[in-house]
Amino acid sequence: MPGNLDYIARVSDDPHTPVNQSAPDPEQWLADHGDALFRYALLHVADRSVAEDLVQETLLGALKARESFAGRSSTRTWLTGILKHKICDHVRRKTRRQPEEDLAAADELIADQFNQHGLWSGGPRKWRGDPSSAFDNAEFWDVLTRCLEALPERLRAAFAQREIEATPTEEICKLLDVTATNLWTLLHRARTRLRACLERNWFRSTD
């Protein structure tokens, strides 16, 4: 899907990063950037072994394309750009094979958050701590990964593309092959489920 690739190429072109050294060493890429790429992939796919495979595909892809890496951006920016392509390929492969969510039917996990009048039952609680500083805690990563893992593939992909990458909605519609109306529903469900999951397992204050 060329539209999406253009978008990713555009955002990964950072003019402020210094011109990079030549003759990159793939094993050095693994040592310097492996964990960061792994975490990045994990935020998108929420599965360790899939994330590991994506890191491997990224580095192998980088090895093949090293000639074209002219040092216009930093090695990390370049590798992350390749990883984003691999993530999109993965999402396309996975969601094509999975049955579409029945968006006309109510989402049970969301319905459970409201009473019969549509009012919050137990509602959003006051959160302890701030999500930004939660990432400094290794346990939060586990909770977040499990909450993302609990989302169906399409919801997770829609959420990650929109909330992490800020990908324009038309691009996400093409990636997931859904209409704009269906994407709005997917995003609402993903946000509402993930918020509740994180509140239940991490942010709920004890008082």
């Binding site: 959003p124 930004s132 805690n137 290794a138 929109r162």
Partner: protein, 108 residues
């Protein structure tokens, strides 16, 4: 002429009912508007309805705040992961086995 007037009147009533429904929407529907407002510009009455709702519903205000805080946090961590000078010491790492497997693959 008369029938046209009647049609216009019933559509007018339908529209009023729609607006009345929007202004009385419960939290479950308001959260849909809140979410959709991130992606598209909402029609005037729907926008007004959720803004009015937020004035008196603290639970929905929290819903908005939580989603915003999550978005900010996720974009920040993704930005840090793209920046080698900001490598965080905590967080999941490649397992030794995966690292070894990838190293072998890179040699071939």
């Amino acid at each position: 002429m008369v029938s046209q007037y009647r049609l216009g009147k019933s559509q007018y009533l339908k529209r009023l009912l729609h607006i009345w429904h929007l202004l009385n929407a419960p939290c479950s529907e308001i959260t849909e508007s809140i979410s959709r407002a991130q992606e598209t510009e909402l029609p005037f009455w729907e926008r007004l309805a959720y803004k009015l709702h937020l004035l008196y519903c603290s639970a929905c205000r929290r819903y908005v705040r939580h989603l915003e805080a999550l978005r900010v946090a996720l974009r920040r961590i993704a930005g840090e992961l793209r920046d080698p000078s900001a490598d965080a010491p905590v967080g999941p790492k490649l397992s030794a086995a995966a690292r070894e497997r990838i190293r072998r693959e890179l040699r071939y």
